[in-house]
Amino acid sequence: MSENIGDSFEIFGGGSSNGGTGSGLPFGYGNSNSALTTGQSGPWNTEYTLIANDPGSLRRVNLTFSNYNDPHEVRIFQSSLNVTYQAEIEEKLDLSEYFHPLQSFSSYQKQTFVISPDSSINLDPGDFDTTLGEVSLLMARAHYNADAVEDQRLLYWHYNSGYRNIMSDMMMLTGQVKPDASWRGWQTLPNIDEQVGYTGAATGGFVFSNPTEYPVKLTILTAS
């Protein structure tokens, strides 16, 4: 493109004189006349460069200039846990093989909580008497406030007074149970101290805590 905008107007020069170095009116001269004369246009040179010879090359160019910053995402569809990039599935973990049978002694329950900011809930142990409180499946899904930024999309969970663990959007824990026995499942019974007058928190089972400034809706499925 030409450096000049009009035939009789030039904005270069930078001299301190009122007239500048151009032949026309400079910017900021302070009168009421328009600095740009109407009805004129500068020359415009267009150069073309061949950047793709075939559709495959065109896709590469598109990735370079249009979708380069698209993120990888973890999503669940087609009965798989997928790592996707745009429309491509780059890796997947097949979930279709997972099956939790309902056996003769099995039971299940689904609970939904809204956990207030800076507060905790004890998972209701439900009715898993046949497995002495153990479950072989726990799946949890959290729904966060729309205003919660990514750093605020988290919950803490404690199990049997162990270390504090973390959960973001979902969690799935599994094990195995036996009828009328403690086996290799997850114990949901809170081990409340039997001492008379004890008013502290339960120390067993699952405790979920919301450390964020927004309420969090938490849905938990437990099954034996």
């Binding site: 995402e73 093989e97 099956f99 309902l102 299940y108 799946m139 750093d151 199990y159």
Partner: protein
């Protein structure tokens, strides 16, 4: 020559399973949705996928220092455990050949034996056939680490890594793992 008897397929077992983008209960041919993941997506920066054979009585420590952030923390740990499957009754017929020195194939893994252990920060837990753990992106102003620590021992957080242990003496299991940050 005898004709192969016609055996009607048994009624499918009721249970929980993934169906497309949902987690459902199939019970008496009825399907009840429990979780809908169609709206679920989580942005990740890096990831890895691995397959591990875990021999009987052995342990393996999963460390993905290169996938994690500067402190080795990741947002996603998804593990599937595959146990020995039942033999195909058509292929193997009614009798299994006994070959000296070669373990005789078993008829699958009993349900109560489908478990292994995983240990994180000194705590040991159970895992059946699947585990999905998620964490959050680290806050830029929050010094607390809010993911899962998969560092090697020599890095600042030396209690990193998840150790999977196969407690069984007679079965090998296979792990399929996706880790993402």
């Amino acid at each position: 020559m005898a004709t192969r008897p016609i055996i009607c397929p048994p009624q499918p077992i009721d249970g929980f399973l993934f169906r497309k983008d949902k987690f459902v209960l199939e019970e008496d041919y009825n399907i009840t949705n429990f979780f809908d993941f169609s709206d679920f997506q989580d942005e990740v920066i890096s990831y890895s996928r691995s397959k591990v054979t875990l021999k009987s009585g052995k342990s393996v420590k999963i460390s993905q220092t290169d996938i994690g952030d500067d402190n080795g923390f990741v947002k996603w740990v998804a593990v599937k455990v595959k146990y020995p499957a039942p033999k195909d009754p058509i292929l193997y017929g009614s009798q299994t050949p006994i070959i000296p020195g070669v373990p005789t194939p078993t008829n699958g893994t009993p349900q109560v034996k489908k478990y292994i252990f995983w240990t994180y920060r000194g705590n040991t837990y159970n895992i059946g056939e699947m585990m999905i753990l998620t964490g959050s992106k680290l806050g830029s102003t929050d010094s607390e680490k809010t993911g899962w620590n998969l560092t090697e021992d020599f890095l600042p957080y030396e209690d990193g890594g998840i150790t999977f242990s196969n407690p069984h003496s007679d079965i090998d299991v296979k792990l399929e793992i996706i880790i993402a940050r």
